[in-house]
């Protein structure tokens, strides 16, 4: 089946259950008049407008970059596409097998060894024993953890964790790939190798949705850009068109930043 993503008039709100007192609500609403991302919903609850009126359709072959400042709603949109957050209004439909690389520690248990964590991930993807063994072999050879692969991940350095998480997440090749920008981070020696593997994976996927603000990556990998601002689509179009306007607004185009968001 051909992969396809359809998003229609998507809205996501985060409820703020701890800001229910009247006076607090009033003062927050009074101060939030600028951008108005804090709103009162129909039930008079305080909510953060995470996403508003998002609509787009992706066909096979399309590679979408989500750009925007911190808090613009990029990660929330990825999570909504992955089916983690269900729409508060509108709809999300995705056809084809899906893999979402959202959280580096995605279900990793620090008490388990690297090998056991890989097995666990395989089971989440409904793999049988042989497939799990193949996955372990693939991850082991790529992550280059040596003897550490059979030790609890609790004692790994942060670089090793990233390497394991990266190898694990990129070992499963889906039709629709959703990716958050932390995947572009990693230690220097690992970068080239990681990038190569990621590119293979990206090329293998029918549809890619990538959240980033790295100009270089967007230009070399993507065919379309959606610029999010305050939870709404500010601009949607071809890479050059959007990036030209957007690039004027950002100042950190560093590729593979050393710092890794945890």
């Amino acid at each position: 089946m051909a992969a396809r993503i359809e998003v229609e008039d998507l809205r996501i709100d985060f409820p703020l259950y701890h800001g229910q007192s009247r006076s607090l609500k009033r003062s927050i609403l009074a101060h939030a008049t600028g951008k108005r991302r804090l709103q009162e919903n129909e039930k008079h609850r305080l909510v953060v407008e995470a996403l508003r009126a998002i609509s787009f359709t992706l066909q096979p072959g399309e590679r979408l970059a989500l750009v925007g400042h911190n808090g613009a709603g990029k990660t929330t949109l990825l999570r909504a596409l992955a089916g983690v957050y269900e729409p508060v209004a509108g709809s999300v439909r995705i056809q084809g097998s899906l893999n979402a690389l959202l959280d580096p520690n995605q279900g990793m248990n620090p008490e388990l060894t690297g090998r056991e964590n890989v097995a666990l991930r395989g089971r989440y993807h409904r793999m049988n024993r042989e497939a799990v063994e193949a996955l372990q072999e693939d991850v082991r050879s790529f992550a280059e953890l040596g003897d550490f692969f059979d030790l609890p991940t609790r004692i790994y350095s942060s670089g090793m964790i990233i390497r394991l998480a990266f190898a694990m997440a990129t070992a499963i090749r889906p039709q629709v790939l959703l990716m958050d920008e932390w995947f572009l981070a990693g230690d220097a020696a690992f970068r080239e190798k990681a990038r190569e593997r990621l590119e293979t994976m990206v090329r293998g996927a029918d549809i890619l949705v990538l959240s980033t603000h790295l100009n270089d990556i967007v230009r070399s990998w993507c065919t379309r850009v959606i610029w999010l601002e305050d939870g709404r689509v500010r601009m949607d179009g071809a890479v050059d068109e959007v990036m030209e306007v957007f690039a004027g607004k950002i100042d950190t185009p560093a590729l593979f930043p050393e710092a890794v968001a945890s």
């Binding site: 089946m1 809205r11 985060f14 409820p15 259950y17 999570r79 596409l81 992955a82 089916g83 983690v84 957050y85 269900e86 729409p87 508060v88 209004a89 509108g90 709809s91 999300v92 439909r93 995705i94 056809q95 084809g96 097998s97 899906l98 893999n99 979402a100 959202l102 959280d103 520690n105 995605q106 279900g107 248990n109 008490e111 388990l112 056991e116 097995a119 666990l120 089971r123 989440y124 993807h125 409904r126 793999m127 497939a131 193949a134 996955l135 693939d138 990129t170 070992a171 499963i172 090749r173 889906p174 039709q175 629709v176 293979t200 994976m201 293998g204």
Partner: protein, 282 residues
């Protein structure tokens, strides 16, 4: 690289404004897809136990040992207090306490079943029922370790084995269904209202003392009839009585099944109403 298994149809198909019937279908799919992940549920539950006791010499058998010590200590004191012969009281107590710890840990785990899985829930779309199955499997495994105490006590006091023991099998199935219903209900409600878990634990503590766990129901004399209004009593009794060699009364069954039906309906209703909100709450 290994290609991901392609699901037939939509990998994600979510919309707002579904009616009750559509939500019911989604809740049902959640439960069915969770069953498809039974290997994972078993693996996770086994890991839960193994990790809790990683590095310990006795491992999960600490559970057995502590149950044994508790049964022994309480047994001698309370047999004297209640002026009951120890050879009938101790088997009763061993069974009662083990069953109660099975039940109460299902309830207390149930109230944190979703909040504990916060990391997974937010990073991947996995059927919520998976966490319920994990909880059931874990508690059954723990119970299995405690069964040793019951067996030893029963052999030591030469308790009779009878045909009525088979009546425990449907009762155990009822327990698992009830456990799932409690977890569906409490898991969701406790994720939203963080005041509920402490309430649950104090209710459980009171229930332990009033539900005929430490004392035999017939010690209440003609007042034991009131125990039938206590869901904890009747649900424990349908599993306990057969193992002690007599079938529970008809009214006990009526009470246990009635409370279970209410519980299941309530659990299902809560789950189908709030399933789509759980990710926002944890």
């Amino acid at each position: 690289m290994i290609p991901a298994e392609a699901d037939q149809g939509f990998a994600v198909d979510l919309r707002h404004g579904l009616g009750l019937r559509a939500r019911n279908t989604m809740a049902f799919q959640d439960v069915v897809r969770g069953i498809g992940l039974w290997r994972l549920a078993l693996m996770l539950s086994w890991l839960d136990i193994r990790l809790r006791y990683r590095g310990s010499v006795l491992g999960p058998f600490w559970l057995t040992l502590s149950t044994a010590v508790m049964v022994g200590a309480l047994g001698f004191v309370y047999a004297y207090l209640f002026k009951t012969p120890i050879h009938t009281y101790l088997p009763f107590l061993a069974l009662s306490l083990t069953l109660w710890s099975f039940l109460s840990s299902m309830v207390s785990d149930g109230s944190v079943v979703f909040t504990q899985a916060e990391g997974m829930i937010r990073s991947m779309r996995v059927p919520f029922s998976l966490y319920i199955y994990q909880l059931l499997a874990r508690n059954v495994l723990i119970f299995a370790h405690n069964v040793i105490v019951i067996v030893v006590v029963f052999i030591a006091f030469d308790s009779p084995v009878s045909w009525s023991d088979f009546a425990a099998i449907p009762a155990l199935v009822l327990w698992l269904i009830d456990g799932a219903a409690v977890a569906l209900m409490l898991g969701a409600v406790c994720a939203r209202f963080r005041d509920i878990p402490p309430i649950v634990s104090s209710v459980m503590q009171i229930a332990f003392y009033v539900s005929g766990i430490m004392f035999k129901p017939d010690m209440l004399g003609h007042r034991s009839i009131y125990l039938l209004y206590d869901p904890f009593y009747s649900i424990v009794e349908v599993l306990r009585a057969p193992l002690l060699g007599h079938l529970p009364s008809q009214m006990t069954y009526v009470s246990a099944l009635g409370f279970s039906a209410v519980l299941c309906l309530l659990g299902w209703f809560v789950f189908l109403r709030v399933r789509h909100r759980i990710a926002f709450w944890v």
